[in-house]
């Protein structure tokens, strides 16, 4: 068991890498699967010094849900922002900084949140506070910053809390 | 296994170098042992190969078992045999010198770089493929960059920048030339190029000629032909002197390549490239000689003097090369061997001097071991100036004799002889100031502008540098005493160069027909 843990320091990563391999070679053959798995074992083995203290992930369904939510938001928000860019005069726009206090603690979770914020158009994670307890977000057009902050905390951070901690 | 001997000059250093880096990185003594053993073995291998080529047969090694012109081939003929022997016989004393003087301890990776340097040079001499020649030029160049800046120092770095930048320009030009040649002929193999160039349709000659001449200029850069020689003085003068001594063969790579390409591919008989060099190559070579000789007289440091001496000797060599006749080529080949050994010796002597008093020709310090060093300087100086009894005089006579038929014979003679005179005066000035005037200086050092000797002499075998110098001197003496056999070999080599059909047929096999 100990040996297995050493060989497979992170099964999720091995799974992800095996999938990546199949994705890369664009096929599902047994050869590819075995080879991908082999690499999926080997590469984390060689790279584990670079990723100590890996977080434990919980609830795969939650992860899937989160991804779906984000993708939907991306499409929606893109259209809004495209309208702003194309049609809204600069003078009417209300760009704004928002401080988002963080309940998330692990770097991985914070990064996921920050990434989500950036990838959903209209908001952008710009910086983190000097002790890591707040996230600085920039809004392209936010007449009401507090609403944006609450939405982020509600919609994304809450879900991430469930996934990571 | 014997048929694989032809690749050995490349593979042997290519194995030893990484081995030194991987396994012996922290064992200086073992590095030295392996490096010297490799050099000795290399000398043996090259001698065996040259012996194979001596009877005039051309040997071809098809790398990857792909036939020419589709794969890369190594070709051994008299010329390449001679050049690899010269390289390995030069390398050994230079290596011993570097060990004996402790130069190899003054920076990292000296021995590995040295082996790689040899590999590059060997590869360049043996290849039968134009692009592969480029690759090995780069191997030898990059190793030379490392050796040139070995042990560091402000001025060495500054000179290194110039050396590298200028040679990168040269490498770029090489690629322009190769692209042009491939674009016209559709081939890269030198023998195949020869076939294609001889049959080139008239409408393609303009582009072919541009490519051919650019290639020549690339080689001329390596050969330090004026006005492409500017990289040499500061590079050689600021390199560690044993490295500069090894570099004595690098200019010859340029000369070799000119001889190779302009006898095999763009030979005197080839109509498409007729008259490509006639108007400018010889005058440029004459100016090179003058610039070198004047530089010898105008140098205030012995390293620079040696560098200009090397340029002057390249001028003489290129004069003979530029005539592209069989006799002149034979003379050039003899002179080539001589000038390589002579220049190397002068660089090593320069190092002996610099170690002891900083290298200023107007000396500020007296020098220990003046007697032996001055004798060696004297020998190197007369060798490089072309004074008897050493081979330089014979080489000079051969060149003068061979250029008699040229339209510019008067100019050639005048320049060679004047160049000799200026060199003699310059060498005499330097020698008398360094050794005679320096002899009378007070013992203690009051002037700090001279570079102090760099390291502890205890850690090195003190005799080895002199053994190395006398080894090179012995080479010069042997070249003098056995001038008859040596010139016979040179003549046979030249004859082979000017009848390239056998080379072409051997390389291309049935393709030739």
């Amino acid at each position: 068991m100990k040996l297995l843990r050493r060989l497979l320091p992170h099964p999720y990563l091995t799974l992800l890498l095996t999938l990546t391999w199949l994705l890369l070679v664009n096929g599902w053959s047994l050869n590819s699967l075995l080879f991908g798995f082999m690499l999926g074992v080997l590469i984390p083995f060689f790279t584990q010094p670079y990723w100590p203290n890996r977080p434990r992930l919980g609830k795969p369904l939650k992860i899937a849900e989160y991804i779906l939510v984000v993708l939907m938001d991306i499409v929606q928000a893109n259209i809004i922002v495209a309208r702003i860019v194309l049609f809204k005069p600069n003078a009417d726009r209300r760009p704004n900084w928002i401080t988002i206090p963080l309940d998330l603690k692990t770097p991985e979770a914070i990064t996921a949140l920050a990434g989500t914020i950036t990838m959903t158009p209209g908001t952008l994670s710009a910086d983190i506070s000097d002790a890591g307890h707040a996230l600085l977000v920039h809004c392209l057009d936010a007449p009401n910053p507090d609403a944006v902050r609450d939405e982020i905390k509600q919609r994304y951070e809450r879900r991430l809390m469930e996934i990571f901690e | 296994m014997m048929q694989h001997l032809l690749i050995a000059p490349v593979v042997l250093p290519a194995l030893v170098a990484p081995f030194i880096i991987m396994v012996l990185r922290h064992h200086l003594d073992l590095q030295r042992i392996f490096s010297v053993a490799s050099a000795v073995l290399l000398a043996g291998v090259t001698l065996a190969l040259a012996a194979q080529a001596a009877d005039g047969t051309v040997k071809v090694y098809e790398l990857g078992d792909w036939p020419a012109p589709f794969g890369i081939v190594l070709v051994l003929d008299r010329l390449s045999g001679m050049m690899i022997v010269l390289t390995s016989l030069l390398a050994l004393p230079v290596l011993l010198y570097a060990i004996g003087s402790g130069w190899d301890t003054r920076g990292s990776n000296f021995h590995a770089l040295f082996q790689f340097q040899l590999m590059g040079i060997m590869g360049a001499f043996l290849t039968g493929d134009a692009f592969n020649l480029f690759v090995f030029f780069e191997v030898l160049l990059i190793a030379s960059y490392g050796l040139m800046i070995h042990s560091g120092g402000t001025r060495r770095f500054q000179a290194g920048v110039q050396y590298v930048v200028f040679n990168l320009l040269g490498s770029t030009l090489f690629l322009f030339a190769l692209g042009t040649l491939y674009s016209v002929t559709g081939t890269l193999n030198m023998a195949d190029l020869a076939v294609k160039v001889s049959q080139i349709p008239a409408e393609d000659t303009a582009l072919l000629r541009a490519g051919a001449v650019m290639l020549l200029l690339v080689f001329a850069i390596k050969a330090a032909l004026l006005p492409l020689h500017f990289w040499l003085p500061s590079a050689y003068a600021n390199a560690p002197m044993p490295v500069a001594a090894l570099f004595a063969i690098m200019t010859k790579v340029g000369a070799y390549s000119i001889l190779r390409m302009y006898t095999l591919v763009f030979g005197p008989e080839v109509a498409a490239t007729a008259g490509l060099t006639e108007n400018w190559l010889l005058p440029a070579a004459l100016l090179t000689l003058i610039a070198g000789a004047v530089g010898v007289l105008g140098s205030n440091k012995i390293g620079r003097l040696a560098a200009f001496g090397a340029i002057a000797s390249m001028g003489t060599l290129l004069i003979a090369v530029s005539l592209f006749t069989q006799t002149a080529t034979a003379a050039a080949l003899y002179y080539l061997v001589h000038s390589t050994l002579a220049a190397a010796l002068l660089f090593l002597v320069a190092d002996l001097v610099m170690e002891r008093q900083g290298g200023w020709i107007l000396p500020q310090l007296p020098m220990p071991q003046t007697g032996l060093i001055s004798a060696l300087f004297f020998a190197a100086a007369i060798a490089l100036a072309g004074m008897p009894p050493l081979s330089g005089f014979l080489g000079k006579l051969l060149v003068l004799d061979a250029t008699r038929g040229s339209e510019l014979a008067t100019w050639i003679w005048a320049v060679i002889l004047t160049g000799s005179l200026i060199t003699i005066i310059g060498m005499a000035r330097a020698g008398s100031l360094l050794f005679w005037k320096g002899h009378g200086l007070p013992q203690q050092n009051t002037d700090t502008s001279a570079e102090p000797p760099q390291q502890n002499p205890a850690a090195r075998p003190a005799q080895l540098p002199f053994v190395a110098c006398f080894g090179l001197l012995a080479g010069l003496v042997a070249l003098t005493v056995f001038a008859g056999p040596a010139t016979r070999y040179a003549e046979a080599t030249a004859a082979q160069l000017f009848q390239p059909q056998a080379y072409i047929a051997t390389v291309l096999g049935e393709e030739a027909k």
Binding site: I100, T111, G115, A126 | -
Partner: protein, 132 residues
Amino acid sequence: MASLFEFLVAAFLVMGGVFGIVGSYGLIKLNDPMSRLHAPTKATTLGVGGVLLASLLHAAVFEEHVSIHELMITLFLFLTAPITANFIAKVHIHRQETRETMPPAGEDDHWATHDKPEDEERRTAGRPDAAQ
């Protein structure tokens, strides 16, 4: 059926093109540097995404082989775009802003970009042996 897929592919292509150009147009049109930083996310997400979806669909339907490895590109872009944006934002904060012009950093003192090198020294000074 084919024409539906044809339409879909075309639609993805057009969508991709539009968002692609919106992203780059935004870069020119928007008048403050932080706002400009929002624009490329459009190109990254729906711009490239649209083209990738079109490619995926096109391969599956019209060239009769499933090709999903375009997803790798998306994966990389989603992974990297936030970091890029974060860095460029930090450049702005570093060059254009000071601690004073920034909003408060919640319970903390200031934003990480405005950590002074002195602070760094303080942070490393506590453990000088860490370097050994």
